[in-house]
């Protein structure tokens, strides 16, 4: 197992199985604007010290001036460190005057003078045209890698390489790790995603991992497709009330703790209200609640809750509101899990699952994330209720096509039933995992007390 060096962004370290391979060469590739320089600088500033400084070498791609000007807009960029623990230098002049042998000589002098622990070359690809032929370039790579290899130096080479160059360009054979930064295109939505293509001496998380570029640098959201920690866990055997006595009765005394419940139904039927019952009932029993809403904004939701006698401020129910426009599923899931972890909530309402479905680029990814989220919450004993809007106002032909019905432990269907003079609301418990339920269809009304079930229909 090769030791690792932090990239300065903890979730990327998770993807890399701990960080960049220490004292090795990592290649960071991607199109212009994909955040390669930001990542390299993040790595530099989080590792450099006076004793073990970092060298940032620009070449003939982006002028040093511009790298610095943009760099200082980032929160981790410490201008006081420049010249003390982070040294910038320009290889562009040397390579222009003396070619690649000049680069080797200059690099050697800089290493002697600074004894760096990290060297970034940005862009490495821009050096290639200075080799008169392929053989010369390979010799240069061999010499440079040899020089870097004898001292404890972690190198990051940056380049605007395209996927098809990976097999052909010799620097990929020299590299110990390759990180490809790019984008995921789905319809008209583009989101950033990175992949680890190669990593010597250790495991890493495969697949595409979303990331954003912010003022704090690169923020990565490792792909969630697993249930979390593998250790066995126990769930409490004390049922949790839905907040509506009649529904608890139908479920055989409420939900299991850590269970997930999907409330499906057409618009206006009372799905959010069922969720509020669930969360505020928990709050009444001293269990902290969280409402993760993509539907109503906090003001709207507060007004709805107040109409039924609940208050967010008094009942220790937290709100996590995100606009469903331009929502990134992975970022949202991480936000939610962080909030659950930090605040110790026991009950979560997600309103609605459909908004999350619409925000995800593909159905497989949506299923992976939902599965991981439910599993992670279940392991913590956190109960979840999710709303899901179906398009049919009357009757329902299919629920499985929505890709959500098999995941939750409990499935509650709310429906409209037209009568001659009005439209009635009905509730059916379609599924409960590990328990008995009343399969009947019950009418319910929405009153000032919330959801009120009528007596079972004959």
């Amino acid at each position: 197992m090769i030791d690792r060096l932090t990239t300065g962004t903890s979730r990327l370290d998770v993807v890399l199985g701990g960080g960049l391979p220490l004292n090795a060469i990592s290649l960071v590739i991607g199109l212009p604007g994909s955040g390669k320089t930001v990542l390299a600088e993040q790595c530099v500033f989080s590792n450099a010290s006076r004793e073990r400084p970092a060298l940032y070498l620009s070449t003939v791609s982006e002028p040093l001036e511009k790298i610095l000007r943009y760099g200082q807009t980032l929160s981790f960029f410490d201008p006081a460190a420049v010249g003390a623990s982070v040294f910038y230098d320009d290889l562009g002049i040397v390579v222009g005057d003396k070619g690649l042998p000049g680069v080797l000589e200059h690099a050697r002098d800089l290493i002697r003078g600074h004894r760096p622990s990290i060297i970034v070359i940005d862009s490495f690809k821009a050096l290639r045209p200075y080799a008169p032929d392929a053989g010369e370039y390979r010799r240069f790579l061999h010499d440079l890698a040899g020089m870097l290899g004898v001292l404890p130096i972690t190198s990051v080479w940056i380049g605007e390489y395209e996927d098809e160059e990976i097999a052909a360009a010799p620097e990929f054979a020299v590299a110990d790790a390759i990180i490809a930064m790019g984008s995921n295109q789905a319809a008209e939505r583009a989101s950033r995603a990175l992949r680890v293509l190669k990593l010597r001496g250790g495991g890493f998380l495969s697949g595409k991992h979303s990331y954003r570029i912010s003022a704090d640098g690169i923020v990565v959201f490792p792909r969630l497709a697993d249930p979390g920690e593998a250790e066995p866990y126990t769930l409490g055997d004390c049922r949790t009330s839905s907040g509506v006595q009649a529904i608890d009765d139908m479920l055989g005394d409420g939900y299991w703790p850590g269970a997930s419940t999907l409330v499906a139904g057409p618009t206006g039927i009372g799905k959010t209200l069922m969720g509020l019952h669930f969360v505020f009932e928990g709050a009444r029993r001293g269990e902290r609640g969280l409402i993760a809403t993509l539907q109503e904004n906090p003001t709207q939701l507060e007004r709805i809750a107040r109409g039924f006698g609940w208050s967010f401020a008094q009942d220790e129910v937290a709100l996590m509101y995100r606009s469903p426009v331009d929502l990134y599923l992975d970022e949202w899931v991480y936000d939610l899990l962080d909030t659950v972890e930090e605040t110790g909530v026991r009950r979560v309402l997600i309103d609605s699952l459909g908004d999350l479905r619409n925000a995800s680029a593909d159905l497989t990814r949506f299923r992976e994330y939902t599965y991981s989220l439910l599993q992670r919450c279940s392991r913590r004993g956190v109960s979840i209720m999710m709303t899901y809007e179906v398009s049919e106002l009357f009757g329902l032909t299919q629920l499985t096509e929505h890709g959500a019905s098999h995941l939750p432990d409990n499935l509650v269907l709310l429906q409209y039933r037209p009568s001659q003079t009005s439209v009635n609301r009905t509730l059916t418990v379609l599924k409960t995992r590990a328990g008995y339920h009343d399969p009947g269809v019950r009418e319910f009304a929405i009153t000032a007390d919330g959801i009120t079930l009528a007596e079972p229909m004959a």
């Binding site: 004292n23 002098d109 002697r112 004894r115 040899g146 290899g149 004898v150 001292l151 404890p152």
Partner: protein
């Protein structure tokens, strides 16, 4: 008057005294070379007499002697000046005061880059350095030059490093610092090495290991001399 034995006041080491011709003669370096060094690197800048002649101080003479020694030892004038510049910046100007006995280190190396960096970092610390790029040459140089310390890359000459350590140990009491990418600590110590470092080694670690080993060997030498 407290001048013992009637000695004259010592000449200030910073006072300009020597002409360029005198310095050239003392150091056996052509005056033209001294002028070129000054113009190109500007590290040793003599004062000028009212008539415009260059005048060098004793400190400057010693600095030039250091440069001449480094160049004679194989360093390029540019590197030698850089080395001197660093020493001056650190306040250890001029040759180290080691009772006229600068420790000599023999590097038995396989990798030219490793040899280059080790030589540079050790010279920066004021050591004399000789490099051998194969095991046989290392054995010969160890016999001829009696270095104060030998650094051996265990992968030298097709991984003959352990054998080299044994051969050196059979003939010399010189401290041996074994270095290897592979974890061969026990094997190295069994073969007679005094210490082992696994590659890659930080320059400062290398230097402090050398200092420690030389400190020990100086102690041994003193012990031997006094017994």
């Amino acid at each position: 008057m407290n001048c013992k034995g009637g000695t004259i006041a010592p000449m200030s080491s910073g006072r300009p005294v020597y002409s360029i011709g005198a310095v050239a003669e003392i150091l056996s370096v052509p005056a033209a070379t001294l002028r070129t060094w000054q113009e190109r690197y500007g590290v040793v800048e003599p004062e000028r007499s009212p008539a415009g002649h260059r005048l060098y101080s004793r400190d400057q003479l010693e600095n030039l002697r250091f440069l001449a020694d480094q160049v004679a030892g194989g360093l390029s004038p540019g590197d030698a000046h850089r080395l001197l510049g660093e020493r001056l910046a650190r306040g250890t100007a001029g040759p180290e005061d080691r009772d006229g006995d600068t420790p000599l280190i023999l590097l038995a190396e396989r990798d030219p880059h490793a040899a280059d960096f080790a030589e540079y970092f050790l010279r920066t610390e004021g050591y004399e350095v000789v490099v051998a790029m194969d095991a046989d040459a290392a054995l010969v140089k160890a016999g001829e030059l009696t270095p104060d310390l030998i650094k051996v890359d265990l992968l030298i000459s097709g991984a003959r490093g352990l054998e080299l350590c044994r051969q050196l140990r059979a003939r010399l009491r010189t401290p041996i610092l074994a270095i290897c990418t592979l974890e061969l600590r026990d094997a190295a110590l069994d073969a007679g090495a005094s210490a082992f470092l696994q590659r890659p080694v930080e320059p400062l670690h290398l230097v402090s290991a050398v200092k420690d080993l030389l400190g020990r060997s100086a102690f041994i030498r003193r012990g031997v001399a006094s017994s």
